[in-house]
């Protein structure tokens, strides 16, 4: 959020005002691109050159972003002129780190090849040769997949976004078929709120009158066509024929962009050969079954993250990142040169990318989450999506075969072959899943002799493989989660391979993004079948040992362990996907905001647990009753929304022994909320609450970096008093007065989230509201960390005077912070 926008935001805005200030805002304060330990690579003069962010900023110092509607603001200029943060460590260390990882990749592959050689020479079982060869194939497949993975991540690129040139014309295209209008409204409003001017088009293949009315209401353009030939690609091409912007942005109906999306991406087109800029896909409905979240360990896993945050930057080094269907900007000239978006395929994005590369264009990957979409909410929809992607990508072999397509470089061929090959993973994984169970049931050994000598070789190979894979994957290599992903999808992926090779005609099916339809037994039959097979195999093996039919205790023990692992994967998938995940019509954003709640007993300041435009969950010690009417005042940063609501459910928060009485959770449904208020709540959720939540689970430093940071800041750490994570409403009084929520509290300081980026050293007043009374203190700002993409800040402050003993003694009895419910 720019300071200009912050100021306007602070004045309390209508929706029109909200749009205006976002249109008038120019760039986020924090233009530093922090890339962890990745190598800084930038295209300078058309050639790749490694530069530090500081160098980059100095190179581009004169190139001030000049938006057509830029507002001159001294504070903004001052913010812009701040030096960029230095890179995380020196270029030598970065290079050393990269070289070490590359060395490890080579070492792991060498070990894998040695292992395969040993397997071929000494451990093929002639008594069950077919079975043994099948297992060997699975291992060889995995070796090739690992080699392709290492190739892709050889040198991940972290680009610094160049300033966006002025006066570019941009058309934002939102293809839609039957998506919910409320969903489209969110997307359109966010597109209209872009800081960089752009025209927004609904491309409606559903020919809905109500959507044309919505377009009219919001000020978007509405394009429809008489037929739905070539599905999404056809729809986009139809729009291309009716629009004239130099650049085209594609957003799927559920993708909500940040206002800075264009500013952060358009700069790459200063290179005239860049055809498209892709940004990561990110899902915001973290309650989908696709997420594995451990709030205590601040760990969030989604299978897409590794691809979009790590592999794609790696492919960017080889100029082989691809347009991924949404959240991308494309140069119209490039599209026109290849005849528009690729048709005749169900994955137009990859095929379009291959054609662009083959025609000599370049792609760029900007590794910053600038838009958020919806993950599928049930397994059937998820499988539908996976099937489409797998089929489409495998069909690339028959349409634009990357191995034979003219015009591609060798690395591009390898990368796109890796894209296709990745979808074949279902075959070896199925072999891995069923082999141990079959071995136990039949007595066929895939590896023979399986003796101590082999076990030693295998253990060394396994340690090198797992350790190396984790090390080079920089936190994205999660073997357990990858296995879960494979267990979820193995059957669908095999189905896709079969359909592709049998040349079944594929149809573009829109992935449902609404509330969960629930899971049918047929959807999880492959996993249920596999679990039953594994349990039978385990039990059979145990009985074999019990009746002493076999004397191969080593083989059978390992077989039972391995089968048990596969069974547990199958059960985990069944258990997770059959849970009721998505009762609500729309996702609630997890986050704490201060809310004034007025009922018959008086007015209370409480905090939310989660929020969206339909309702809110509150945590409070006050007792409310079902159906009780409430008047709520939501403090959304500087904005205030007043709304009526009613209690629709109640529960008790998880126990905290120190609390004086149970902490109660109430679900409140909003009543008679105006559309403008809904839009303001939505925008606040997307641009402040969601980034704060995602930041909580952001990729953390490696242990080496953590140690280095600790050493560099050891004095600060030594002085820091023990803090307690609490969620309490507070009021900040300074240049602007606003309510927010405390993240943590200690006798010497406090941390809170602010939409306003305070200066270090600034003095403010804070009043923390507890149910025992208020604590009013003067504070000195010590840290201000911007949360990407720059609309919220984590503020660390020290009390001018140490907290009094009486207040201090209250801390253990305050409302605890739970489940990442952060301000």
């Amino acid at each position: 959020m720019t300071i200009q926008a912050q100021k306007l935001f602070c004045q309390g805005l209508t929706l029109d005002g909200l749009w205006q200030h976002w249109h008038s805002s120019v760039s986020p304060i924090d233009t530093t691109y922090v890339a962890g330990d990745l190598v800084w690579t930038e295209y300078v003069g058309g050639r790749k050159k490694k530069v530090s962010p500081v160098e980059y900023m100095s190179m581009n110092k004169s190139a001030v972003i000049d938006s057509p509607v830029a507002v001159q603001d001294p504070e903004l200029e001052e913010a812009r002129s701040r030096p960029a943060a230095p890179p995380p460590c020196s270029s030598f260390l970065v290079k050393l780190d990269l070289t070490t990882r590359q060395f490890v990749m080579v070492g792991v592959l060498a070990m894998y090849l040695f292992y395969l050689g040993y397997r071929v020479l000494y451990t093929l079982n002639p008594e069950a040769l077919g079975f043994s060869l099948l297992f060997l194939y699975a291992e060889m497949h995995a070796c090739l997949a690992l080699g392709l993975y290492f190739f892709q991540i050889w040198n991940p690129v972290a680009r610094v976004p160049p300033p966006a040139p002025r006066n570019l014309t941009v058309d934002i295209l939102i293809p839609t078929y039957d998506e919910d209008l409320a969903l489209l409204r969110k997307t359109a409003i966010s597109c209209l709120s872009m800081a960089y001017p752009a025209k927004v088009f609904f491309l409606d293949d559903g020919n809905r009158v109500e959507l044309s009315h919505l377009a009219q209401e919001l000020g978007c353009s509405y394009l429809a066509r008489e037929n739905q030939i070539h599905a999404k690609a056809g729809n986009l091409n139809h729009a291309l024929s009716l629009t004239d912007g130099e650049f085209v942005v594609v957003f799927d109906a559920d993708y909500v962009p940040h206002p800075t999306f264009l500013e952060r991406t358009l700069g790459y087109f200063q290179d005239p050969k860049v055809a498209f800029v892709q940004t990561p896909h990110n899902y915001y409905n973290v309650d989908s079954f696709q997420f594995w979240i451990n709030s205590k360990k601040r760990d969030k896993w989604n299978e897409q993250d590794a691809f979009y945050r790590f592999i794609m930057p790696g492919r960017d080094y080889w100029n082989a990142a691809f347009f991924a269907g949404t959240s991308a900007v494309i140069r119209r000239e490039a599209l026109e040169e290849i005849g528009g978006f690729a048709t005749g395929t169900i994955t137009e994005d990859v095929e379009t990318s291959v054609r662009l590369y083959a025609n000599g264009w370049k792609g760029a990957y900007h590794n910053e989450v600038l838009s958020n979409g919806l993950a599928t909410t049930d397994l059937a929809s998820y499988h539908l999506q996976k099937l489409r992607w797998a089929e489409g990508n495998i069909n690339l072999l028959f349409s634009e075969n990357p191995l034979t397509k003219k015009g591609l470089t060798i690395p591009q061929r390898i990368c796109f072959f890796a894209t296709v090959f990745g979808w074949f993973v279902g075959i070896p994984e199925t072999i891995y899943f069923v082999t141990p169970a079959i071995m136990l049931l039949t007595g066929w050994y895939p590896i023979d002799p399986f003796d101590w000598q082999f076990l030693m070789v295998y253990l060394v190979y396994l340690v090198v493989l797992v350790g190396g894979f984790k090390y080079v994957s920089r936190g994205y290599g999660r073997i357990g989660f990858n296995n879960l992903y494979n267990m979820t999808n193995f059957f669908v992926l095999i189905k896709a391979v079969a359909k592709s090779f049998l040349r079944f005609k594929s149809k573009f099916l829109v992935t449902p993004k609404g509330p969960s339809e629930g899971v049918q037994l047929t959807t999880i039959l492959p996993q249920v079948g596999l679990a039953l097979l594994c349990f039978a195999g385990m039990w059979w093996g145990v009985l074999n040992l019990y009746y002493r039919i076999t004397q191969d205790y080593l083989v059978y023990s390992i077989g039972i362990f391995w089968t048990g692992t596969n069974a547990s994967l199958a059960v985990a998938v069944i258990w997770k996907t059959t849970r009721t995940w998505y009762d609500r019509q729309t996702f609630r954003f997890i986050g704490a905001i201060p809310i004034e709640m007025a009922n018959a007993t008086g007015s209370h300041l409480v905090v939310s647990k989660d929020l969206n435009e339909s309702g809110v969950s509150l945590e409070t010690f006050e007792v409310l009753h079902l159906g009780e009417p409430l008047a709520l005042t939501l403090h959304l940063g500087p904005n205030v929304v007043r709304v009526k609501g009613a209690v629709v459910y109640e529960s008790v928060a998880e126990g905290e022994a120190t609390l004086p009485r149970p902490l109660l959770v109430y679900g409140i449904r909003f009543e008679q909320l105006t559309q403008i208020d809904k839009d303001i709540i939505q925008q606040f959720c997307f641009h402040l609450v969601l980034p704060r939540y995602l930041h909580h689970y952001a990729q953390r430093d490696s242990w080496g970096q953590t140690l280095a940071n600790w050493y560099a800041n050891r004095q600060r750490f030594q002085k820091r008093a023990r803090r307690r994570l609490v969620t309490l409403p507070c009021q900040i009084t300074g240049p602007f007065s606003f309510y927010t929520v405390v993240n943590d509290l200690s006798p010497t300081g406090v941390a809170f989230t602010s939409h306003y980026p305070f200066e270090v050293g600034q003095r403010l007043s804070i009043e923390i509201f507890t149910h025992h009374g208020g604590i009013k203190m003067e504070i000195d700002i010590r840290t201000c960390t911007s949360i990407p993409p720059g609309y919220a800040n984590l503020i660390g402050a020290e009390f001018i005077e140490v907290l009094e003993d009486s207040a201090l003694s209250l801390i253990p009895y305050m409302q605890p912070q739970k489940n990442g419910a952060l301000a």
């Binding site: 049918q520 037994l521 039990w539 009985l543 039919i549």
Partner: protein
Amino acid sequence: MMAPAIALLRNRWVLLIGGLVYMGLIWSIFLVVNHQEIVRAELLRSPTSVHKQDVMEMYESLGRQESWVEDDVMLMRLTEALVYQGRGAEARKISQGLLLKNPKDHSLRFQVALALHNAGLYEEAESHFSILLGERGDK
């Protein structure tokens, strides 16, 4: 709304009872499929504890299964079991067959002789002891 089949699948009692039934079913199949293997294993472990009927079944299946004939240790154990159950005639047939196959296996001959002696078939046993002693004397 959870589908009824899924609700059943997630029900702990259904899982517990279903799991037990499933295990029982697998166990039954295992016993049927591996009956002979189980008896063989039992025979190897403790020839005297094998069920009478199982021993006779094994004896009867000797003629049908070549692999049994090759397995000398197993035949030896079967001999012991037959002797223990008072089936001296059958035991003698097997031991004779065994010794015909391995006439110079002194260890085998000694075990056969011992088994016959323990079963009260002293004459049979004596002849084998004599051969053993005679061969030793020759040496």
